[in-house]
């Protein structure tokens, strides 16, 4: 397994010499197809967590013939342990908007929307005036593209792309059936590119520096760098942009407090890696992928409480539309509580694990499907803590 050493990178938050107007001018001199080819070649994959190749997403949307197409920036950051998108929007908003404009030019869209969570409402004034400024710059450059803001209202599920479209259309944020995918049927049922905040900044930086600089970083399947949100039992919580492909053990050495017993990678819906497996995985698509959430737990923490928190979170945030997720989340939560109280035998955990496995197969969207990740990895590695 190829792994990379710990290396801080400064692409996302780099402000020195980053004139987005210059980047845009360069983009506008090239053809949309060339831009898309570069994005494919860069190997950039969605930084929200799902990891779909960004260039392909753009290519599929470009090949649709609809007159109306849309670019959406997914800023509904809600995964527990993630706070990078807010930080990016606060510190380098112009680079996010530029990524949207580049995508708009590439797929021939005239409108872009930023869907941002209601919890970040305090950003509204500043963000709106920066958007106005940016729209004006585009107008002056003769690019027919406009960005507008749309707000969420406290629903984690709206970070799921099709739920986000529903919410933007004024409906309950209930995920749609897929396929068709957003590249064909997205917002207003039109072809839509929906990218995470961080992904759009990388699109800007790839167009600033060229593909090679991006590809120099990372491993074979995980090109480039990524912004990590580090929290939990760490002496230095915060935002770090690191080269992809770091061994979990090296991450813990850098950020742990010397007593780390587990790292939850990818948020509540992510994977729990216990101390004995720190050397077995890299952070990246070949190992454990993540949208950036890295939560460290030391030996003073009860993994029962951790799992209980996650299950409570999913129970509350499940949209309730499909039965496996709505009922499954509740039953997993009730189940571990019953075992803890001694009302159910320890073997009941295996029944719950098979329920979680069914949820992975039968749930309609990523929320219900991913509950099995934390559930099985915590149960498998910390079974005695859950029972006693």
């Amino acid at each position: 397994m190829e792994n990379k050493e710990f290396k801080l990178v400064d692409l996302i938050f780099e402000t020195e010499g980053c004139d987005v107007g210059v980047v845009l001018d360069r983009v506008l001199k090239r053809t949309p197809d060339d831009i898309i080819m570069d994005m494919i070649d860069s190997g950039l994959r969605g930084r929200g967590g799902a990891g779909f190749p960004t260039g392909l997403k753009w290519k599929f949307t470009r090949s649709e013939s609809a007159y109306d197409k849309y670019i959406i920036c997914n800023a509904d950051e809600g995964e527990p342990g993630t706070f990078k998108d807010r930080e990016i929007l606060e510190r380098v908003p112009m680079k996010v908007f530029t990524g949207m404009a580049i995508a708009g030019y590439a797929i021939d869209a005239k409108e872009g929307f930023i869907y941002i969570r209601g919890e970040y409402r305090f950003l509204q004034k500043k963000l709106q005036s920066q958007i106005d400024e940016f729209n004006l710059m585009l107008e002056n450059k003769g690019l027919d593209f406009k960005i507008a803001l749309r707000w969420g209202s406290g629903a984690y599920i709206c970070g799921e792309e099709s739920a986000l479209f529903e919410s933007m259309e004024g409906k309950r944020g209930e995920p749609r059936n897929k396929p068709p995918y957003p590249t064909i049927t997205g917002f207003r049922n039109k072809p839509t590119v929906i990218n995470n905040v961080e992904t759009l900044v990388y699109a800007t930086m790839i167009n600033k520096y060229g593909v090679d600089k991006f590809k120099e970083l990372g491993t074979r399947d995980s090109h480039g760098s990524k912004v990590f949100s580090v929290s939990g039992d760490t002496p230095k919580p915060g935002i770090y942009e690191l080269e992809m492909g770091l061994l979990v053990a090296d991450f813990v050495k850098e950020f742990g407090d010397g007593d780390a017993k587990a790292v939850q990678i990818g948020g509540a819906g992510g994977t729990c890696v216990p101390r004995k497996k720190f050397d077995d995985f890299i952070i990246g698509y070949e190992g454990v992928p993540t949208g950036g959430s890295m939560m460290i737990f030391n030996s003073s923490r009860s993994m029962y409480n951790v799992l209980h928190d996650y299950l409570e979170f999913f129970t509350e945030e499940s949209c309730g539309q499909c039965t496996p997720c709505r009922v499954g989340c509740q039953q997993l939560l009730k189940g571990i509580e019953a075992i803890k109280r001694g009302e159910r035998p320890p073997s009941y955990l295996d029944d719950l694990k098979s329920l979680a496995a069914s949820m992975r197969i039968a749930s309609k969207c990523g929320l219900g499907q991913s509950v099995a990740n934390p559930f099985s990895t915590i149960i498998d590695n910390f079974r005695e803590e859950i029972i006693y």
Partner: protein, 154 residues
């Protein structure tokens, strides 16, 4: 207080009398008075040519679109894992003591509503809370007492 009718009309003017205007309208009303009452939802339904049940069904999907009366200041303490580990229980207890209300309740003078909410995106600076749209991070017992007293005085 701005008239709800005016809020609706302003949004309809900028977005159109279509379903897409629903969230922005509901958000604008909540921003103004912190919750939606029946009369508001009936008016919104009429303006957008939707059934009232549809408006209610949409509003109740979203945690921040409250359909029961809330105080002037809605306090939401983050209860998700990082904030939990960082000591949000002490913050909630402090607020309960200070405001003499339980979770989900509003003070008799209709000034404060105390609630918990899921992850707010400040996991490196827990415990945190929102008071309406304003975020307060790295809370301690003393800090919370001061913040609330400032609101009480405002």
């Amino acid at each position: 207080m701005t008239d709800v009718k005016e809020l609706i009309q302003a949004k309809v003017k900028s977005i159109g009398a279509k379903r897409e205007a629903l969230m922005p309208i509901l958000q604008a009303i909540v921003e103004e008075k912190n919750y939606l009452d029946e009369e508001d939802m009936i008016q919104v339904a009429e303006a957008l040519d939707l059934s009232t049940a549809d408006v209610y069904g949409t509003a109740t999907f979203y945690t921040f679109l409250d359909t029961v009366p809330r105080g002037k200041f809605v306090i939401r303490v983050c209860k998700t894992i990082s904030c939990h580990m960082a000591g949000k229980d002490e913050i909630v207890d402090t607020l309960k003591d200070l405001l003499k209300v339980d979770l989900g309740e509003t003070t008799p003078d209709k000034q404060f509503t105390l609630m918990q909410a899921n992850c707010m995106g400040w996991c490196h600076k827990g415990p945190v809370m929102l008071v309406n749209d304003d975020i307060y991070t790295e809370l301690t017992k003393d800090k919370v007492i001061k913040i609330i007293h400032d609101y009480m005085g405002s």
